[in-house]
Point group: C2
Chain length 352, copies 2
């Protein structure tokens, strides 16, 4: 975003984006809040709906099936290799929308700022959000800003909510997996969580591990175009691939048989996991999806995914089986077998 | 909500709603989070959309004009005379939707919990949300839960986002005020902010001042039925009546002439304001609206409002005037005149 912000009539003096900080007045509803909205949010997110300047945004919809998704983002640190809480808050909610097969349309964004937070950092994060939204062709059309006292928050929390429209004939849901279905993952797992944890622990590797944070709706649109009858689709965020498969197992009343050798994991991520004592299967991703489809759809689905930049390393990692216990089973690399259970405690706090 | 929660297959042991507290695992994506969702949120908010158990909720829409609004709630204390952060988080967003004239349809709710927060309090708040949503006939259909470490939050923050449909022919917006229009307020101003501040300061009055927190969509529906051409409508929350009028002045490029004698303020609220050094015009409301209409609509609009329980004390408090400076002017009780300017600093932190 440019420093040359368009000062609106009311706004009065220009905010000090270089050395200024958030104070309680920025959440008051008064002049300081109006300045923040006019000089930061309206400039960065600039669109006709936000410029309505009402407490809600109005837009036209056609009849059909709509989805709504919301995500609070509390990731720490706010800036990390491959992204920041701003872009993540856009990608995260767009992905929740996209996993229904829907085309994301609009986002709302709500900020909880801690007193003393540098305006320069807020500007960076808001600019990053705006960039992520623009890339995804999704507008951030309404929002809210609250400020809490120093020590009652942690810099900034961002909650985004998105809506989208599901194309006719698409009925993706976690309860559609059937025994015999194939399980496809769109690429390397564990990148996001390991990037954050390595950064927090100051671990150095030959290459910096980057978060995979990205909007997946375009990949999903290609997938649906190739195979409109995808049964299930989900982004394995908190709790990772293991949690997503366990959720599907429970929702669809099935089991899974996964082949560890087929799960794409980067060497450096695997090494970092070993160092950090993490199991990559439980580590959060922010730019990957798991798809479950009828075997007759696998070939065309996989081809569509692999022809998209965000699905280059897609692979079939296993299949759905009958199992009244709803277990996720893993054929290990050394030929053994283990149950991949639900995560019991907390593995990675504040990972998204 | 009942204690006899329906334990779902996965959930395992029952959460200890009497003495338990939130820990980081409740935000992990694993078993503890699934327990919290199954045993608390699904039970309290119980509806077909939430029971889809996907990361997004799907529903049918008809074509038309839709609105979306979002609000982060960070009020302190969490429980206050007349309400709590749970009910407030429902009313606040429903009201933002309603102020466009829209019928609210669905809400999302996103929780940022602090480690150590009592499960008993969370259950109370979630029950209160569920009750407020049910009363308003609006379903909470999707959500998210995050947990931050002790000292990085403040109990619970709740962000709600709502969507609604605007009836055909209704075009309410803050930029529609015209010189000559009448300004109507739906009842006593200042109750919410003064209730919170009195509670915080341990002030005792003859009667406890209660927050006016309430969903206004039904009142608004009656108003629109009586006068479909309402020009502007807004709930004067943070920054109070003064801020709403200043916003309208700027959006509509007009001025206001308000008669202080006509502004309904409870005696005990006026007394408390004096004690606390507050100006009631800047104090937050959570169950009031300001309407601006053509004088030809005033009589029927006022009659409709006064026949509704939430509009009993509605009154015309002034009119829109031409003013290129966009000033809000007040004829004071003693016959003077003063400018009601934008709030400069922070009057009441964490009031909503």
């Amino acid at each position: 975003m440019t420093e040359a912000v368009a000062i609106k009539k009311l706004s009065g003096p220009k905010l000090n984006f270089k050395n200024g900080t958030i104070d309680l007045a920025h959440g008051s509803g008064g002049r300081a809040m109006a300045q923040l909205i006019d000089q930061l949010f309206l400039v960065a997110f600039n669109n006709e709906w936000l410029n309505q300047k009402n407490d809600q945004a109005a837009f036209s919809v056609s009849s059909g099936r709509m989805v709504i998704a919301t995500d609070a983002h509390v990731i720490s640190p706010l800036f990390f290799p491959g992204g920041d809480i701003g872009s993540l808050s856009v990608h995260g909610t767009i992905n929740d929308i996209a996993m229904s097969g829907a085309k994301p349309l609009y986002l709302s964004a709500s900020f909880i700022l801690e007193e003393g937070f540098p305006l320069a950092d807020l500007q960076k994060l808001v600019t990053s959000m705006a960039h992520a939204a623009k890339q995804a062709n999704v507008a951030i059309i309404t929002g809210d800003t609250k400020v809490v006292e120093r020590g009652k928050g942690d810099g900034v929390f961002i909650t985004t909510t998105g809506i989208g429209m599901v194309p006719e004939g698409v009925h993706i849901s976690g309860n559609q997996a059937k025994p015999g279905d194939h399980v496809i993952v769109s690429g390397y797992v564990g990148d996001h969580g390991v990037a954050i944890m390595s950064h927090r622990n100051n671990l150095q590797f030959q290459t910096t591990i980057q978060s995979d944070t990205a909007s997946l709706h375009d990949l999903v649109a290609c997938m649906i175009h190739a195979a409109p009858n995808i049964h299930c689709l989900r982004d394995p965020t908190r709790g990772g691939l293991a949690t997503t498969l366990n959720e599907f197992a429970l929702q669809s009343q099935v089991g899974f048989m996964i082949d560890e050798r087929k799960i794409p994991i980067r060497t450096e991520v695997a090494s970092a996991c070993e160092l950090l004592g993490l199991d990559a299967l439980y580590v959060a991703n922010e730019g990957k999806c798991v798809a479950i489809c009828d075997p007759s759809d696998t070939e065309k689905l996989l081809a569509a995914m692999m022809s998209h930049p965000l699905g280059l390393h897609a692979d079939v990692i296993g299949e759905v089986i009958e199992d009244h216990r709803h277990f996720v089973q893993l054929k290990t690399k050394i030929g053994g077998m283990r149950i991949v259970d639900w995560l019991a405690g907390e593995q990675l706090p504040r990972i998204c």
